[in-house]
Symmetry: C2
Subunit: 383 residues, 2 copies
């Protein structure tokens, strides 16, 4: 399963004592080869955690032989000491595994602004290296959890090759404390340029369109590693579709486990003049706190959808907007449409369709409702 | 008090039965003259309620003799019928008061997407016209409340002239259902151009910098009426300062009574390259749900401030950011600063200072925390 589903990978997840509750907090993924091509995408936040800054440099080389991940601390906003911690982590793994330090990526997740306990992390890396195995994927997926209630894995079986992955967090635009980390592995034989192309295309319409709470993390990282162990090079379209499928599956798992959520909200914007317009409108709807509260209360309050759309710069005329909630067109022509009492909102998934009536482009954004549990969870995190 | 503090104004607030709980829901403000200059600012939302579209046209004439306001329904997204309702309301007041219909402004607040019960509103207008008096300001302030727990008024005494006002709602960027309506009145003798200049300058740094929940209403309206009853024409600077003072007072009252809030958050951005940068950064901090939850929990989680700043386009270097919470510089140089345990957050007001260390401009944004009560209130509004 997970990051060890593909041949040529080992992994481990162990408890190093970074988390005070004793839960697993250090994960390791090792590309045992024969090849070690890699690609990565990172948070667009200008305040980037030390491990993001480090791993961005590593990925420029196009080769990643191992990834060390820790939960229990984001190592963001930690200054030169934080960068030193990331470097020491990579150095430790490199020395133990016989890799070059510039081929070791590092990911961290947890509270911002706290230094990592290196006296616990470095021995943890040593134990993870020793514990790694071809069946260690699930343990690794467990060790990267923060506020996740379940670990997230996905596997795609290609024609003679496999793609697997693990994820934690609540979205690319995720809590600054429960950042999204994803590691994907494949035994297909592809170079870093091919991996990069497939990964960027996939994240653009999956992780980038998940918006749990509008907050963008300092640590978000998605890595794709290829061992070439099968010596199979799939056609680009086939591989790209596999990456998209696995990313979509993991993204949906993230939304389904977002902090305090009780509803998964699928927002489809159609009839947009451009895809950018569709994304802007979808994201703005996704971030409207009043709507998120209303949906939590199973209230088909379409007025809040319209007032959200009205704050965007997308091309539309207010009197031509149509909005459906769970298939009922409660707003037609910018005004009262079908009876709101017809909308059944009891299920976990809520579908909103906003028709801008301007063009032929569309986009889907996934979001969550806003709940008292979200408030509780995020008002008590650090204290 | 309120809109009848200045000479030349009468007002009333009555219960017309629009609100099902029988609370007052129709207010009237009449400029008895001798003059009737006016200015107004309106929501920037592209989805504008019928009364906003109507009143914008009225204000183009520069003359307003009366304002009819109703709570219990926003008359937004109500199509041609909604516009007809607004027009009929203005017509009714104009006929009863002997005004031209084009001199009657209309404001509505309440749920979006529901037609107003004209069989109740029009008789209500008739009763309000009959009930109006020079001491009716407070009743008017009460009648425009929606989820407000208290009515809001403010008065400024000039040299031989007075400025008074009333407000309801939670901010210019306010719930789409508890929209901000403000009526200011003065007995100074000023033309509409002078009123407009003072009002725009005042709202730019007061109502426009209040951000309770990031949601922009379809109905926000701020009107300033001058009767000229004192025949005093104050110097522009003096009058502008009075308008700014009253707007600031009312804006603070709105924040202090925002839905479900337990903390008022004063965000000051200093060291910005431009005022626009300062406002963008302040607003982005103000809208970060994770930070709003943390502050509710009295957790000085400055990492969430930095991760919010990192999503803006303002000029800054991450490693030069400083952040203080209630006077304690918990973040220095983008990293760990003074001990977070030193921050006392028990009071209602929380002060955040973000120093971008780039230039000499600054701005203050007022916001609220995010609470379980906000979720409860807004998940049960319509149902």
């Amino acid at each position: 399963m997970s990051v060890t589903a593909a041949r040529g990978f080992t992994a481990a997840g162990i408890a190093a004592g970074i988390k005070q509750n004793g839960n697993p907090d250090v994960a390791l993924v090792v590309n045992e080869g024969p090849k070690a091509a890699a690609a990565g995408v990172f948070t667009a936040n200008r305040v980037k955690a030390a491990p993001v800054q480090w791993s961005q440099q590593v990925l420029k080389g196009g080769t990643v032989r191992s990834v060390v991940l820790n939960s229990g601390g984001a190592n963001a906003c930690t200054g030169p000491q934080g960068f030193e911690s990331t470097y020491a982590t990579a150095q430790k793994a490199a020395a133990l595994l016989g890799h070059s330090v510039s081929e070791v990526a590092v990911c961290s997740t947890g509270l911002i602004g706290v230094q990592l306990p290196m006296d616990k992390l470095l021995p943890g890396v040593e134990r993870a290296v020793a514990a790694r195995s071809a069946s260690g994927g699930e343990q690794a997926a467990v060790a990267i959890k923060t506020t996740d209630t379940v670990h997230k894995q996905s596997v795609y079986d290609g024609e003679g090759w496999t793609l697997g992955g693990m994820a934690k967090g609540a979205g690319m635009l995720a809590p600054g404390l429960a950042t999204m980390l994803v590691v994907l592995t494949t035994d297909a034989d592809l170079d870093s340029a091919a991996l990069d192309r497939a990964l960027r295309a996939a994240t653009r319409t999956t992780f980038d369109r998940v918006d749990s709470d509008g907050c963008m993390s300092t640590n978000d990282t998605v890595l794709l590693l290829a061992s070439g162990a099968t010596e199979v090079t799939p056609p680009h379209e086939e591989f790209a579709e596999a990456v998209r499928t696995v990313c979509d599956d993991l993204a949906r798992q993230l939304i389904g486990d977002a902090e305090g959520s009780s509803k998964d909200i699928r927002i489809e914007v159609v009839g947009a003049a451009t895809e950018d317009d569709a994304v802007e409108v979808g994201r703005t709807i996704a971030r409207n706190n009043l709507l998120k509260c209303a949906l939590h209360g199973e209230d088909p309050n379409w007025g809040r959808v319209l007032s959200a759309i009205g704050t965007t710069n997308a091309a539309f005329e207010p009197e031509q907007l149509n909005v459906a909630i769970n298939g009922v067109w409660v707003c037609k022509g910018g005004s009262v449409g079908e009876d709101r009492e017809l909308v059944d909102m009891r299920g976990r998934e809520i579908r909103i369709t906003a028709d801008l009536n301007t063009g032929g482009d569309s986009a889907v954004i996934w979001a969550n409702d806003l709940t008292a549990e979200y408030v509780h969870e995020n008002s008590e995190y650090a204290s």
